[in-house]
Amino acid sequence: MQRHILKIPFIVFFLILLVFFYLLMIDRNPSKIPSALLGSKVPNFEANSLFKKDKFYSSQEFTNEITLVNFFATWCKPCKDEHVYILRLSDEMGLNVIGINYKDKAEKTTKWLKKLGNPYSKIAIDNNGQIAIDWGVYGIPETFVVNSEGIIKYKHVGPITKKIYKEINLLVRGLQ
């Protein structure tokens, strides 16, 4: 009996390592964090908009088409990396993309978009990070897909890569 007890540490250790190995082997993305908002309506907010004088009211958006919401900033390096995919989603897929400019300067953003191209139909300014808090944003860039009824269907933390681009592509086709 005692002999078997002595093997327990080994067995437990072995099982835990097995799980770790499995997690390392599978193609897994630790930055995919579930959102409590998935499946629920977009949070209501209003904000100043970039380029336009009138305010941005979330209640007037997300009503009749699939919309991509992208939190971005010019100081965030990964945002620059993913920008090309945001452009493709907007130009090639014809998606309505709303940008939320997180803790940034208006002049900088304007310059940045002029240089890289502007994929956004509207841009809301989130100076104090309040919108990001309401949306449960972990860190930028972060992207949400909202369906035509204003329900959040997808969330991705981190820059959009080729793989994520394809994922969004498939998802949007499914929603349509």
């Binding site: 002999r3 002595l6 080994f10 770790f20 964090i33």
Partner: protein, 626 residues
Amino acid sequence: MASTLGNILLWLSLLFSVLQFFNSYKKDNQNTLKINKIAVNGLLASILLAFFLLIYSHVISDFTILNVVQNSHTTKPILYKISGVWGNHEGSMLLWILVLAVFNYFLFKLYNNKNTIFISKTLEVQAFITIGFIVFTIFTSNPFEVIFPSPENGLGFNPVLQDPALAIHPPLLYIGYVGFSAAFSISVATLKLNIVNSLPWYNYMKPFVLAAWTFLSIGIALGSLWAYYELGWGGWWFWDPVENASFMPWLLGTALLHSLIIVEKRQSLQAWVLLLAILAFLLSVVGTFLVRSGILTSVHTFALDPSRGIYILAFTALLGFYSLILFGSNSKKYFNNNYFAFFSKEGAILINNIFMIIVCSTVFLGTIYPLLIEAITNNKISVGEPYYNSTVIPILIPAILVMGVGPILSWGKQNKSEITKKIFPSIFITTIFTIIFFSIYRLISPIGVVGIVLAFWIISNNLVIFYKKINRSFGMIISHLGVGLLILGITGSSVWQIEKIINMKTDAEININKYKIVFDSIEEVKGPNYLALRGNFLVYDKNKNIITILKPENRFYPITGNFTSEASIHTNMLRDLYIVLGDGNLQKGWTVRLYYNPLVVWIWIGALVIFLGGLISLKNNIKKLA
């Protein structure tokens, strides 16, 4: 140039550790010692040189080296150029190996004419661990990798990490983690050689465990101090996976340290101690694996690279399988059936051991539970503060009660009326202290009362022990006192913290506790490598005297493009006032977060006292060995 030299030094150190491994493996005694002397000193010298070379490269901003480019910048202050060496993955691995080499050297110093075989076996295991980490560093995390063409300047260093507490936090933590490697090696050597009762292996193990535990304690405390003033969330412990990765070996280390005392005095529990020593080091390595592999995300996660994760895991598997199978087959000889009296010093230590193991398992479960769930169901969940608070704290309460009374008890069985007589003074003092405390603070909440009673229970027990000279281990008394102070701080700051988050324009005022805080002005300031917006907040006490001006800052580091907010804190023995400046502008005002944190400073005073106690014990234990 520096890169070539660095690589040569790394390979040289590998050569020395391989030499140590094979030399310790063979049985010939006379030459073993001589050759090991060369190997041990050679390893230490080459890795020390490599480490200084990397520091030098960082200091002179040698941008032919990738590691310098990725983590440094010419405008960075000199202190952070140096601490930047271990603030990144590659450099920190070099530091890890350096600490391994230092402990290796101390193990070598244990040689005497009676223990040659035993120390050789220990050095063999230690060499194996060292080889594993050097190979890992050379092939997956080489700090001396070149970059061509070399850029004009570096990418800079994460400004959140540019901090004095964080500059010394990793080295202290590594002394802790790596110190357990020596205990591991001694444990494996003991199991392998079957030296029941012929050699006091536990006397050799104790100073290493004591050193590891002492430095791990202060390392964790510094990390939490950093999180407290740098992250700007008003708290000091967040149950982050990385914090847990250091807390778990600490818990096992605590159990190990106390069990070693029983082994020393009674020669029982030997098998248990051998197992704990193995597990403490394995947990340290698994902790490193969790942090470095990218399997968990956290603020501490360094650059993700799957090959690193697989390597560390494979190495951990190797160490774990070998040592635990060895334990399964050989530990039986270290069993004895000396049963314990419940009401005795060894009884108290054993009970505390069990509590420590339960807490450690609970934290471990909370850390890997999301991973287990994900592996099985593919769903992601997160386990946070509520889990830990509702599981860990109830287990710790009885553990602390026992901790207070343990040192008062004597070894072996004793009758209960005698125990009552012994602990009566501390019950009395605790009651007095608690009544005084609450008559001043007048903030009674059930959990607060429990915490304060526990803190005073530990403090008064140790005062009694000291006064009556019940126990002569001065280091122990100091450390236990430190734990009492620590609990005082933890209770005060978590039970009675006040948080206010408001929008403030200049000249606005707000009351927090009995203080009035006026937002006087805001100004732009220029630091060495950042620009900042600084708010000036006047703090008035209830007699309307200004007691301080708090100046929280919002900093922008142009090189890395980071924004950070620097909390401004006014500390005294009774409370901290803590202000963080958020976003805003002149017209709309700024978001301001204010905290009133009672007794929080006692957390770090307590940790420092624990550390000092540890050092005193360490000194005495080394003296005993010599």
